[in-house]
């Protein structure tokens, strides 16, 4: 076995940059006088870090090598996900500018933790060995738990943090069990090695048990039914920028790991057919429960939490397809979902300055006060509902298409019906914004601020054009999916 060389370090440069930069930010904060105006500087620093990491990530595109004795891998698949994480982190930070100031907690902690978390997520996407994946997962989960509890003066926030911490510890435990079993069966933690050994044509109990535990563990992380219970409370209670980041980046990372493990380590032999069927069941359950529960919500954040569960259901359909096209459609879906969901949450973040809580009634008549903001929220929600010609329609179409190609016709029909149902609760928000009369007269007009405006604009442009010009994006997703299957 070779020694660790500079080449290994270069391959994880984006993560190194982020982690170091996060430490730098925290250090700088030590020497600054504590004041509310720090948040702008912290934000700027974090964005610089993210841009640097993004550049480092993009230079790695096209690679397909492992580093550190095969524990991490850099391929297009990892790069694709890292771009999503960094985009999400950047957009969330931008949209949180006023929010950080208003809450008044330590902004450096927020920025630092977010960067640490992003670094953890990036390692997850690159992980090629069970322990590395587990450690990366823990880095990101711990950071997220603290981020969720960041708003110390808000009871809901502390509750969200604690809840997330406990439940993610439980799920990590289950995951670790699964991983240990896997190691016991195959004698290796390396995904490719496991894949090489687990090619038995018959199904055996031990790998099946290990696989079930992995599914349960990761089910928690991506909030698939029946492991979704924590999602609504945590999403509702956590500071909104954290919710946005969680719903997009952390979920995407979960999918990255699931795809990596199941397609590389468990991608052959009899077990492949088993998890493919299991994912079909999970997919049907998840989208149905998510959508039905979302129908009943009146709190916007909670509704988006259930909607995010429903979307996990759709995406599981692509995993169940177990084809390259299925994977690429999931990747494309995640990219679109990132823009769309961050756009929707960014509106909620901006509006949190003007309204009490996130109840739907607070958004009544918003179109009068803030036409542009309402428009962006409307197109984001319609895109989530999958209405053409918005990006969400195309991402859903590719997904259903891939599933249909794999012969999952029932699932596809169910998915289409589900997405028709989902329009109801999304349209209710639009109805409230555009059709309802404002709750009180003489409400002030809404000012968005520079940084959130950039984030909102980016999300809106993404929602409007990624679908219509989906060619290059789907190509990138296909490239990423191809790099893993080989």
């Amino acid at each position: 076995m070779n020694d660790i060389t500079l080449r290994d370090a270069l391959l994880i440069m984006p993560e190194i940059v982020l982690a170091v930069w996060a430490s730098v930010i925290l250090t700088i904060d030590l020497f600054l006088p504590q004041s509310k105006s720090n948040h702008r500087l912290m934000l700027l620093l974090s964005l610089i870090g993210i841009v640097m990491a993004m550049i480092a990530t993009l230079t790695l595109a096209g690679q397909n090598t492992t580093a550190f004795f095969g524990t991490v891998i850099v391929d297009n698949f990892a790069v694709f996900f890292k771009v999503i994480f960094l985009l999400a982190a950047g957009l969330v930070l931008l949209s949180a500018e006023n929010f950080l100031e208003r809450v008044g907690e330590n902004a450096a902690e927020f920025c630092g933790l977010l960067l640490f978390c992003t670094a953890g997520l990036m390692f997850m996407a690159s992980g090629y060995e069970l322990m590395t994946i587990y450690l990366a997962l823990e880095v990101s989960s711990l950071s997220l738990a603290f981020l969720a509890a960041w708003n110390k003066r808000e009871l809901r926030s502390s509750e969200a943090g604690l809840k997330f911490f406990v439940l993610s510890a439980v799920s990590s435990g289950i995951l670790l069990f699964g991983m240990a079993l896997m190691y016991g069966i195959t004698g290796s933690t390396n995904l490719r090695e496991i894949g090489r050994i687990l090619t038995t044509p018959t199904i055996q109990a031990a790998p099946l048990l290990a696989m079930s535990m992995l599914i349960a563990g990761f089910g928690f992380k991506i909030a698939a039914v029946p492991f979704q219970m924590w999602t609504p409370d945590v999403y509702e209670g956590a500071p909104t920028p954290v919710t946005a980041f969680m719903s997009v980046a952390s979920k995407a990372a979960g999918f990255a790991v699931v795809i990596r493990i199941f397609d590389v380590a468990l991608g052959s032999g009899a077990i492949q057919a088993v998890w493919s069927d299991l994912f079909v069941v999970l997919s049907l359950l998840t989208m149905t429960v998510g959508n039905l529960a979302a129908l009943l919500q009146t709190n916007l954040k909670r509704m988006l939490a259930y909607s995010s569960i429903a979307h996990v259901g759709y995406m599981l359909m692509g995993l169940a397809a177990a084809s390259t096209f299925g994977l690429s459609s999931v990747l494309f879906y995640l990219l679109v979902y990132a823009f769309t969901n961050i756009g929707a949450f960014a509106v909620i973040i901006v509006m949190s300055r003007y309204v009490e809580g996130e109840d739907l009634s607070q958004y009544a008549g918003l179109a009068r006060r803030a036409p542009l903001l309402s428009f962006i929220l409307a197109i984001c929600l319609l895109s989530l509902a999958g209405l053409p010609p918005l990006a969400g329609f195309f991402s859903k179409m590719y997904l259903f298409w891939a599933a249909a190609q794999a012969g999952l016709y029932i699932t596809v029909v169910w998915g289409v019906l589900n997405s028709a149902i989902s329009l109801y609760y999304y349209a209710r928000v639009i109805k409230s914004m555009y059709l309802a009369e404002p709750a009180a007269e003489g409400q002030s007009s809404v000012s968005v601020g520079m940084a959130p405006a950039v984030s909102l604009a980016a999300a809106a442009i993404g929602v409007l054009i990624i679908g219509l010009l989906s060619g290059p994006f789907i190509q990138a997703a296909t490239g990423a999916a191809n790099s893993i299957v080989k």
Partner: protein
Amino acid sequence: MEHLLLHVILWGPAVGALVTILAGQGMFARVIALISTGLTLVSALWLYGRYDLVTGGTQFESVVPFIPQIGSALRIGVDGVSLPLVLLNCILTFLVVLMSWKFELRPQLYFVLVQFLQMAVTGVFVSLDLLVFFLFWELELVPMFLLIGIWGGVRREYAAMKFIIYTIAGSAFMLVGILALYFTTGVGTFDLFLVSDAARALPVAAQVLMFLLLFVGFAVKVPIFPFHTWLPDAHVEAPTPISVLLAGILLKMGGYGLIRLCMTLLPEGARVLVPLLVILGVVSVVYGAMLALAQINGDLKKMIAYSSVSHMGYVVLGLSALTVTGMQGAVMQMFTHGTITALLFTMVGLVYDRTHTRIIPEMGGLAPKMPFIAVGFVMAGLASLGLPGMNGFIGEFLVFIGAFEVWPVYTAIAAFAIVLTAGYITWMLMKVFFGTLDEHKWHDLTDADAREKFVVVALLGIIILTGVYPSAVADMIAIGVAPIARLFAA
């Protein structure tokens, strides 16, 4: 060069909408909308004149790449079936802009949405690509939702939600149908012609299934019994100009989809399902007319809305004949119903603007107070009940001739409904315009002003012109449906 004109008709309203967003404060919104819809109307008339009736087929075709990876392109063109509907859309939207001239509530957004709607509807009629067709189909939803929801009556939010939920549920089935077509044919493209060549060769069972999937989407739009219940709510709550668009042109999207997708792509499926289709059509005709009759002491607008269900039933009846005459009648009926119902809703709007009520018994003897409106309404009513000399007669007559050869009993039942139509129309006219006038209540009623008269005269002109000289439209339609009917000739 004319294929560029088709792009003007398609995208002109979108450009108009964009300009309105940027510079449409106050009066400008109306003027910009009038210019953009006027230009598209002139372009549509020009194109209508330039369509070569001798060669027939799809003309003014052009292709712009869209998503080459999945074989979808912005492929547009018109034939004898779609061109009259495109023209109808342009005429009605232009008149609707005039009708809405005095809207005070958020005019900028209103005219943006109207123009946007026009683009979406035109897009449905001109697309020769299944995916693009579906995109335009869905694009129409949101503007209509907002138009009903913001400018509608008391229960507007309920009506708007009902409209969007019904339609989206229908189009969900339609999307599954389109994807199923794409996969089972395996041609790797959404090109309508290529898909249809391959789809016709599919086994009957597959065709029946896909026909049903697509049918649900279109049946909601037409609307065919039992999918019609959203229509009265939407109509009663929608503002008058939007009712005109809804009944005049949006319902035709459903009929157009039936003939263009269901019948053309899946002829064997159509052959199997036609007995079901004809029953649903006749039930729509009779039941719609009965519901309209039941409104005689109720809401004027609801009556016209139910009459739409009844009249669109003739379209289904004509299509189920699967003959040239029947289909020609069906498409003709779409065109004529588009003009007549537009006029009827316009008249209802004019009456409502003055009396502020739509409840029929509350009115009476209004004719002396508003002679022009009374004459206009009577003419519209006569056209609706199929008086010869007006175009309503032509559409229904063709449908009856075509359908009678194949479905004599059903056609006879449907023809009986004309009696019901004559009943509710004349009864309603009598109650509203004749009888004794409550001088005290209606002392300050005024007749139509010049702008309103123009709209009425324009619509009436089209109704009489195409009634006396139906070939102006019917010839083109005959050429359009001929290749479709030929699929069923064997």
